[in-house]
Structure formats: structure tokens, C-alpha cells
């Protein structure tokens, strides 16, 4: 089984995000970069599928971005993935989700796969777009927000999150599915894993290499573009409810929620 994991490098969720001076992006100087937590689930799931099949097959990590992303791919390789491919171009950073999907879909033409796994969203732009768009562009079935899966007889069987519960879906391979929290607990890269990862193949390719016209992606090709970033309005300082007993405090809170806030 040949598996491709779509991976994005994002700021750690504990990052105190700062907006840059032209209000168009974030300050990256103090950011700790990590694998998007949902993509980490995707790497782990790919490794488990490979291990369940006796270690046969290959897990390839595919990402797009700047040279900085090499570190995230190496981390995935240290977890146990076999190869990495980075589409490196400045245009990637200014592409919208659809642009990134077009780049990844083009790169996939040169990679053989039975299965593609990706996190169901990236915790930086929260776009939800790239995995579904990649599946559409390469023309394979797609199941989103998967919390459990099995592969048997060329079919992917998934438990997927829907409102109010889950559903079991089945798709013929090749297929793409996206991971949701609950599917697994990702392993940490071991020290020997980190050492081995340094020698694993990591290929860097340009947009020209994969046959993408830079004007079709990047800022020029973007159909949804950021105009301005701002912080949400600060909340006014709150009040601590006083009282002698928990019951008194509870009664005072409920009174205020009803009379001041008018929410109950």
C-alpha cells in the first residue's frame, strides 16, 4: 500500500499570534513551527496502516511551502514515514486554499498512491478546503472527519463524524480521507527515528518541475485573498461575583444573567 500524507506546517497552538505591521500576515519571528496537529494524526494513521500490512508499502509526506517546511517533513520522517516531497516556491505562501490544492494535485501526478490522508483542517487558516479540493482535482472519492478506518479488499471503510454522531462510509481505493481528533494518539519521534530521518529521501521540487504555471496560483491566482488582519475586540473586564456561600454566589449570578445580560 502506497500512502501519501498531505502535511502543513503551522504555528504551535500555544503561540501568542502577533499581526505584522502591514496587517496582512502574522509575525513569524517568535513562532514555534509544528506539524498541523490534524496532519500529525494523518501521519500516525498512515504509519499504522503500513505496519498493519506487515510494513509493506511506503508512506510519502507531501507538503508545499518555504524551506522552513523541511523541518516539519523531517519530523514526519522521524516518526517513521519513508520519503518526503516539498514543493518549494514563494508563490505557495500567497496562494489561497484552492491554489495550494492545485499545487498538491499537480505534484501527485508524479507520485503513485493507493491512499491519501490529510488532517481535516489546518489550525492556522481554518479553511477546511485543501484536502477536499485535492480529492476533487485528482478525481478520487473523499471522506472527511474520520475517527476510525479499516482497509480490506481494496476498500476503505471509515467511521466519519457527522452532526449528532457518526456514520460508516465505504469507498473504493484510491481514496482520500481526512483525520479528526480521536482517530489515534500520534507517536513521538524517537531518537533513532530522528537519526534515520536525516538519511531518508527528501525531494524538493519547484512549480516548474510539476508543471504549474505560477500565475495560476499565488497571489495572482487567488480567488479568496486576505485584505486585512485584526484582533477580535478585547472583552471588557469582568466582575467577580461576591457572596458568603456558594448558594449566594449562584443566586447573584443567575440574577445578573437574567437582569443585566438578559441571556436566561
Amino acid at each position: 500500500m502506497e500512502i501519501v500524507v498531505l502535511l502543513k506546517q503551522v504555528p504551535d497552538t500555544e503561540t501568542n499570534v502577533q499581526i505584522d505591521d502591514d496587517n496582512a500576515g502574522i509575525k513569524t519571528s517568535d513562532v514555534k513551527w509544528v506539524i498541523n496537529p490534524y496532519d500529525e494524526l494523518a501521519v500516525e494513521e498512515a504509519l499504522r496502516i503500513k505496519e498493519a500490512q506487515g510494513g509493506d508499502g511506503k508512506v510519502t509526506i507531501l507538503s508545499a511551502g518555504t524551506e522552513r517546511v523541511v523541518e516539519a517533513i523531517r519530523t514526519g520522517l522521524a516518526m517513521g514515514a519513508d520519503e518526503g516531497v516539498l514543493i518549494q516556491d514563494p508563490a505557495v505562501e500567497s496562494s489561497d486554499g484552492l491554489g495550494v490544492a492545485k499545487i498538491l494535485a499537480a505534484a501527485l501526478k508524479d507520485i503513485s498512491y493507493d491512499l491519501i490522508i490529510a488532517g481535516h483542517r489546518a489550525v492556522d487558516d481554518d479553511g477546511y478546503l485543501v484536502p477536499a479540493a485535492v480529492a476533487e482535482l485528482v478525481g478520487i472519492p473523499h471522506v472527511s472527519m474520520v475517527v476510525d478506518e479499516t482497509i480490506q479488499d481494496g476498500k476503505l471503510r471509515c467511521e466519519r463524524t457527522v452532526d449528532g454522531g457518526t456514520v460508516i462510509m465505504e469507498a473504493d481505493l484510491p481514496a482520500l480521507f481526512t483525520t479528526q481528533r480521536g482517530i489515534n494518539d500520534p507517536r513521538y519521534a524517537s531518537l533513532p527515528g530522528i537519526m534515520k530521518a536525516k538519511k531518508k529521501p527528501l525531494q524538493t521540487r519547484s512549480l516548474t518541475d510539476i508543471g504549474v504555471d505560477a500565475n495560476q496560483v499565488g497571489a495572482e491566482g487567488a480567488k479568496c485573498s486576505i485584505q486585512r488582519l485584526s484582533f477580535p475586540p478585547e472583552r471588557a473586564p469582568g466582575q467577580i461575583i461576591s457572596g458568603e456561600t456558594p448558594e449566594e454566589k449562584a443566586a447573584e449570578l443567575v440574577r445578573r444573567l437574567r437582569e443585566e445580560a438578559k441571556v436566561i
Partner: protein, 322 residues
């Protein structure tokens, strides 16, 4: 020539989701501002009887695709049907609800239509030929104003953020047939919990428990949520401990919620949790640690043992309802 605004209705078990009334009302306001007609698309199996309801919220026309092939409700079949509706009607703008279903459908259609998509918007307006939207990114730590320039322009609106307005229109119902392609994905089984539960992202009140709960017994949280007609949420720590399912998690790596009232019980207020609930209208924090960061975001705070305070609040709420 593309014209008009199309809203994609979402229904579950023969009822429209609340977000459907929200996006229809928002579509009406935008249609009025732009002098364009508003069409609502209702897609599913056995949906014709409810379609007319959307005329009360401002739809000039309701397009119904009622096809037994849509009974399983696979995203793939819905995407195929909605794609054909869009192709046949050529709207300038297509609005979705940013629910689990909307977040699956809208990206598929963006790729098929080669169209720009603003996902999970909290504000949306037309500026001439551009669609301008505000969408929280980094789980709500930052707001991005984005412009969509394509034909059509797609946007998915977050539940609970735009106002529902009744606005009676003629709502002429038009049936449309679609051709569903051979299915690539099959529904095998539905494991949907009994209805009656309020969905976390649509709930008007959310009561969440965190590490301070000390264990998996969330009964006092559930009782307070029930008394307020709300939903139960949890912090990442509570989920990581295995006390609550992942689907309950509120935060940057869970669900982002925008209820009128958010009650955080035993939650210290890690950045990634605050990101998921900070746009709630009112926030109440209950924690025995007066230094907990959550108090900085809370409108009302109670410093005390949550096991004493929460049941007392439930009792007070019940008194009000008697």
C-alpha cells in the same frame, strides 16, 4: 449572465437546521442591498413538503431537488446535486451554513467550480462586485477580512452569528431534476444519537467542564446544560483525560462556539481553549483558583468549588422556570 444569490439549505430528519434560516435571512439582506433575487436550494429525499417554509425568511424562489438517490445523504451525492443546481442557475453568490455538512460540501464545490470560498464567516457583505467577509483564523485568535473574486463566489456562514428575520415572500416553488453519478462512496451505517440533543456549534448556551472536574462524572454539567436548554462542552484536558468524547472539545483544535452564554467550569483558560469560545456573547467562569486566566475573559466570575456552585446555579435556574 450570473445573477442572484443562492442559499443551500440544510435539513436533518425532515427539518431545516437553524443555520438554514440564518443564511436565508442573511441572503435576503444581501439580495436587497444588491437588488438581486434570492433563491433557496433544498436538496434531499422527501424534502418537498418543507421547502415552502423558506419563503417566510425571504426566498423569492425555492428550488427543490427531491430525489430518492439522495436518501443516504452522502456528501458526494449532495455535492453532485448542488453542482447541477448552481450550473443551471448561475448565481453570483452561493451561501452555505458552516456546519459539518457545509464544511464538507462547500470545498468540493469550490474545486469543481474553480471558485473562491470564504469558510466559516462571521460577517459578510457585498462591496460592488466583491464579496467581503470576516472569518476568524487561528481558532479565533485573529480575524481575517477576505475578498472573494470569482464566478460564482462561495461563502459558508458560521452558525449562531447572523440574525434570523422573518420576511414573507412569494417563494415560488420550482422542482428540478438532477442526474446523480454512479456513487464512489457508500453509506453503510448511521450511528446518530437520538435527537433532542442540542448541537454544540448551534447551541445558544454551552456549559463546559475542564480539568477541575477531576473525573469523568459530568452529571452536574449536564444538568445545568439541560436546565438552560444548552449543550455540554469540554476543554482539551478533559478530552485528553478521556472524560469526554472528542466531539465535545471546544478550542482551536476542537469546535469553535459562539453561544449567547458560555459557562466554563473548572477550566483554567489555555490560549487554545480561549480561542474557541472568546466570541461568546457572555462568558461565566467558575474556578477555585482566583488567578486562573479564564477570569480575564469572563464577564462574570465565581471563585469557589464548582461542585458546590454548579448545582446551586441549576437550582436557581429551575426556580426561575417554575
Amino acid at each position: 449572465m450570473p445573477h442572484g444569490i443562492l442559499v443551500v439549505a440544510e435539513q436533518m430528519d425532515g427539518k431545516f437546521r437553524k443555520v438554514t434560516y440564518e443564511i436565508t435571512s442573511q441572503g435576503r439582506r444581501m439580495a436587497d442591498a444588491a437588488g438581486e433575487p434570492l433563491t433557496a436550494a433544498v436538496v434531499g429525499a422527501g424534502v418537498e413538503s418543507i421547502a415552502g417554509q423558506l419563503a417566510s425568511f425571504g426566498a423569492d424562489k425555492v428550488l427543490v431537488v427531491d430525489d430518492p438517490g439522495l436518501a443516504e445523504g452522502t456528501p458526494e451525492s449532495y455535492a453532485a446535486a448542488i453542482f447541477q443546481v448552481i450550473k443551471a442557475n448561475e448565481p453570483k453568490i452561493v451561501l452555505f451554513g458552516a456546519t459539518v455538512q457545509g464544511k464538507d460540501l462547500a470545498p468540493r464545490l469550490a474545486a469543481r467550480l474553480d471558485a473562491g470560498l470564504a469558510m466559516d464567516c462571521t460577517e459578510i457583505r457585498l462591496e460592488g462586485d466583491r464579496l467581503v467577509a470576516v472569518r476568524p483564523i487561528f481558532g479565533g485568535k485573529v480575524l481575517a477580512e477576505v475578498a472573494v473574486e470569482s464566478s460564482p463566489k462561495l461563502a459558508a456562514i458560521r452558525p449562531n452569528v447572523v440574525e434570523i428575520e422573518e420576511n414573507l415572500k412569494e417563494g415560488q416553488i420550482e422542482k428540478m431534476d438532477v442526474e446523480l453519478p454512479a456513487a464512489q462512496t457508500q453509506l453503510i451505517e448511521k450511528r446518530v444519537e437520538p435527537s433532542g440533543q442540542v448541537d454544540l456549534t448551534e447551541a445558544d448556551t454551552v456549559v463546559s467542564g475542564g480539568r477541575g472536574m477531576g473525573g469523568a462524572d459530568f452529571s452536574i454539567i449536564e444538568e445545568l446544560a439541560r436546565s438552560l436548554g444548552g449543550a455540554v462542552g469540554a476543554s482539551r484536558s478533559a478530552v485528553d483525560e478521556g472524560w469526554r468524547p472528542h466531539s465535545d472539545q471546544v478550542g482551536q483544535t476542537g469546535k469553535v462556539v459562539t453561544p449567547s452564554l458560555y459557562i466554563a467550569c473548572g477550566i483554567s483558560g489555555a490560549i487554545q481553549h480561549l480561542a474557541g469560545m472568546a466570541s461568546s456573547k457572555y462568558i461565566v467562569a467558575i474556578n477555585k483558583d482566583p488567578e486562573a486566566p479564564i477570569f480575564k475573559k469572563a464577564d462574570y466570575g465565581i471563585v469557589d468549588d464548582l461542585y458546590k456552585v454548579v448545582p446551586a446555579i441549576t437550582a436557581e435556574v429551575k426556580k426561575l422556570k417554575e
